[in-house]
Symmetry: D2
Subunit: 366 residues, 4 copies
């Protein structure tokens, strides 16, 4: 209710700061009976860890998840699943200088105006580490969705001006490439771009795309809780996302109806569509075709080149942000987008079990 | 809770179908003491009415709002404000044919899959008329925001390939132009484009932009209820919106950090920024500068040219949708975007009254 | 979210004041496909109407419900059901005097402190007429529960010192007796007591009991949303209720465990219990036996004998409240308790459709 | 949203089972700036710990709280406060037998019916240990309320047939007596009763009373979120509570209005009442006088004498529950009632900061 909880039928409540004792999440309302171990979650968390690669921060974040509740004899029990990752390698000393001024592109100024002061160590609550909880909860939802035949996967569509070539789409590359691009060639180009950025003390943005296949039709609520509205909230709530598109997205504003409408057709005995400009969502509900969503991520605001800003005394100053920062947020945010989408889809799938009287009468007659 | 209610500190619950007896909204949690009359609301509703103009539907929608509760001696009482608009001119006969098939670009198919059947008259619950309740509630929030020095206004940025020229921005044009464009020249060109669309039996999309000035810094919650996340949900929940951008929006994905970061600076004794790529939001909180949001609206899916689709028996058919439809949704949706943003801003402003212990101790010491 | 909305999977939002234009409710999230007409609702509303009988107020409240949305071809559509009752016979002139002082036992003082002023006509929002919306929404839930084999019925257990004799329990009497007592003899005695109260310008309290049969086991959430916790909130939120008991209620505090524990046993092939001290609820979940709840209702605070109080200038004064008031709230509140319980039960029944992974996999495999 | 989260402006989400790795709570929405250390919370937790006394279980529960997030430089930051208590002394072996049957008076049967299986170790999620999170969160609210001049304190009113004598009320005794009774003599008698119960292998119930002084008038929302409705939910959601009374409680049902109404009067320049039958709440809002609430607690269901029940194969069996159990729940539940009330009061106090337009205009003009 208070801004750290997300979802309706299921809910996740995240907590923790970059340099606190730990970070975590409570996943509540999750159904009983899913086989679940820490490794199911760890494999998702590992995707957001900075690696030893040349494009991500050399900081070591050894994020090991612990399941603290909600599992008995290897299965979810229906009670809250509490997950925690201890902060083991944060060194607060690195951040002492930034306490006194407001970094451009960061939440520092807003935090001070809202709360009167802030935990300035490593971004505090607005650190990217906050997403650990989201990924941990989303990983569990992802596992259940797989059992329902629904596949949610995100990848990097572009970094700066380097975009993937859809004709070379290779899903296996998502997990193995440096940039999470499903195109080895684009991955190489993008890596060069990132390295170049780092050398210049600069950073760069990119686009994350998420696809959801196997969706039943009719998922999403017709008015405020439209499927696209909730996906937008889910994804826009990830730090650094500045735009969300569904299907053709921004292109629809210059399109004509005769082109933009997708004709329904039959594919054997399955309802299908001849095109998918809608990105699988019509009137806020899934139309049974693949869902397609894109998130536009801004360049990392922490750059090492000199910047102008003000300090807490309202004096204009010049700063040089120290420390090692990713020159691009995108590759590590891919799994966050995927997990937020998985969570949202599962939450809305659960709502549809209530949509007809006959579902209730059938359920309670057995 | 169930998809027709929006908001936290204040909430609006909309109800009604295109061809039911009436449509309306219950605005709950609104503070006591605002002077309010039906005309305050009617002036907003009139902006979404189809006019006699050449670009909107010639259907007559004489939408007169009635206040049913929550006002005493001309002021809000703190109790729920119930607002109703009776449906007076809907003729169901026009819609009998579409009952049997699924219109491309519409929610028809999803409704049937979700609920087993649908109210097919005029789109039922997914009609644009559902926004009557949103506009009525938003008008009241807008009035209170004005008293807090916050100005929320939306306008048409583009229709098809015709965009406004920012150097010719004339706010007065928003309410007087046919397209809600703040640029008389662009308005004329866009009107020609729309008329041309209608003649071809086609439709066209466009972009609505919303600006919010006078914002205090620190509004929005740092994690899931980020200011931009809630604005995105608010705006994406309007039918036909397929993308939402904050500030530079989709451009950030190809930008560099050195360009994208906005330097904080002093403007006299006020904190300001040298640029506003962020669109007034950093880390999910307002940064004290103007908020800028864009919604991309798809072309009206109801077009009169022949289309392919399937019917309820899963047979592929060709259809010609009859009746008069707006060839563009944008001009009438401008006030809906404005109202959803106003509501969201007010809701989050109320949360900040709780953000510090000192606010509570001050409040309860008087 | 803001105090006029109740429920999670389904929600009801009530609105309206005693002397406004109308009162009503929006029931959202209700499943599609229930046959519903205004008469289904009207029969419940008629149970809370003051009649021509000697124990209720001679005020005429001709409360006719209108369905404004959510029904198509005689069935619920899954979209919000808006219900309205117009206020036709309220005469505000009766209430002009009470504007200046605070009636003992009423919400007047709290309203002024909270909102700065109040709609003093007929109690405004805190009038018993507010329950019209609750009854209208609850009637619909009641109908669906019947189809699930669940029977919810409330009745008067006692008025003042007159209680029913359980050995003479006659359910048919609930709807036909003056006091809603299921015991004709007690009804007669209680009626005499009430008439006596009226003659003395006094009022009297009573106990309403609600039974729920046909409950599956396991309904209710184990922690905060316990079945008994939500029923308590539902019933305590009805004006004038000052205590809620489940099963043995207040008696448990002086009982021993060896008596209070109910032994599980088999009744044929059905699980049963040898006693039902628990009132059908253990650990916040239904145990499969009948649910039993009691609400203690205070005497009507509006009495015609002279009372002491203060006015808005903080002067101590003596008052005589004019107008005709029910000397007892209980008989008219019976249907309100029944409807609040029905709503709560249905809401929680819906949650259980999500409690196991196998329910989701079964549902989405068909 | 899903049953483990409570509250609106602030929320607490509890997690953990009796024999899991740990238990805890996330307190979200709590304002920034309260000085807080683990000892503030530990002193409340210690009140629910079983001691070495002769009336509570000799099990050793060494519950040490850790603050994992939300505090910086000794103050709350406005971000979620995560609190954890590790389970250090639970021995699962004690509970192996009960896995196969349903204990009378416990949630076992409901859990199995709802989720298909249960964590049977020590009651799992429905263990009294779940209240650790409630107490931890409530302790923080309690500290803030003190700074607002609001005092919340609970104590044991009665155990079995031994009740305190109000004329001997000694608040200091609450924390020092064995039974949490504010009356040394009654404490002694009740202790004897409990010891007697234990010797017989039986258990006994009791009444917990909570008083809240220093309340402003007008707190609570007029309809569903009435102050008494939310307090009832808060308290009834504690395991083993079977009835909740406000003020005169169950006595009102046999009272007359002329007695039950509390006359408003002046006490110097302060508004007061001549009596307090209402328990400080009228029409769902505080009336400015002391709030009085009573919770009726059932006898501990775990008793060592022989009981009848069924096992998972639906066979009727006789059981003897082994292990050491408190013969009375009441003394340890006192602090839980106090904490749930403190949380609820603070949540509703925050709502009132929004109740008038002038509060918003004043707030945003500074």
């Amino acid at each position: 209710m208070s801004g750290s909880t997300f979802g309706k039928n299921i809910s996740m409540t995240t907590w923790g700061e970059s340099h606190g004792a730990a970070l975590g999440v409570v996943l509540d309302g999750f159904p009983a009976g899913l086989e679940l171990s820490e490794s199911d979650i760890q494999s998702f968390l590992d995707r957001r860890k900075p690696g030893s690669s040349k494009v991500t921060t050399p900081r070591k974040e050894n994020d090991s998840v612990k399941i603290l509740s909600g599992i008995f004899e290897g299965k979810t029990t229906g009670t809250p699943i509490s997950l925690m990752v201890e902060n083991t390698s944060q060194i607060s000393a690195d951040y002492s200088e930034i306490a006194g001024y407001y970094r451009p592109g960061h939440a520092d100024y807003g935090f001070d105006k809202k709360y009167g002061f802030r935990d300035y160590r490593g971004g505090g609550r607005s650190s990217g580490r906050e997403t650990i909880g989201r990924v941990a909860a989303g990983a569990i939802c992802h596992k259940l969705l797989s059992q329902l035949g629904i596949d949610v996967y995100a990848y990097t569509r572009s970094i700066g001006d380097v975009a993937i070539d859809d004709s070379k789409f290779d899903r296996a590359q998502i997990l193995s490439s440096i940039t999470a691009m499903p195109d080895a060639e684009a991955d190489k180009k993008a890596t060069d771009l990132i390295v170049n950025c780092r050398e210049k003390g600069d950073s760069v943005g990119g686009v994350i795309e998420c696809k959801i296949t196997g969706m039943p039709a009719g998922i999403g609520e017709p008015v405020f809780d439209k499927l696209d509205a909730l996906l937008s909230k889910a994804v826009m709530s990830i730090g650094s996302v500045k735009a969300v598109e569904i299907g053709d997205g921004v292109l629809v504003s210059s399109a004509f109806g005769s082109d933009n409408n997708d004709a329904f057709c039959m594919n054997g005995d399955k309802v299908s569509k001849k095109t998918n400009h809608s990105g699988g969502i019509l009137g806020g509900m899934s139309d049974g075709t693949d869902i397609l969503l894109r998130a536009h991520i801004k360049p990392t605001p922490s750059i090492s080149s000199t910047q102008q800003t003000i300090n807490k005394k309202n004096e204009e100053i010049e700063i040089n942000i120290k420390g090692r920062h990713d020159p691009v947020i995108v590759p590590r945010a891919v799994v966050v987008v995927e997990c937020m989408c998985a969570f949202t889809i599962l939450d809305l799938l659960m709502s549809n079990m209530h949509s007809r009287i006959s579902y209730l009468t059938d359920f309670y007659s057995h």
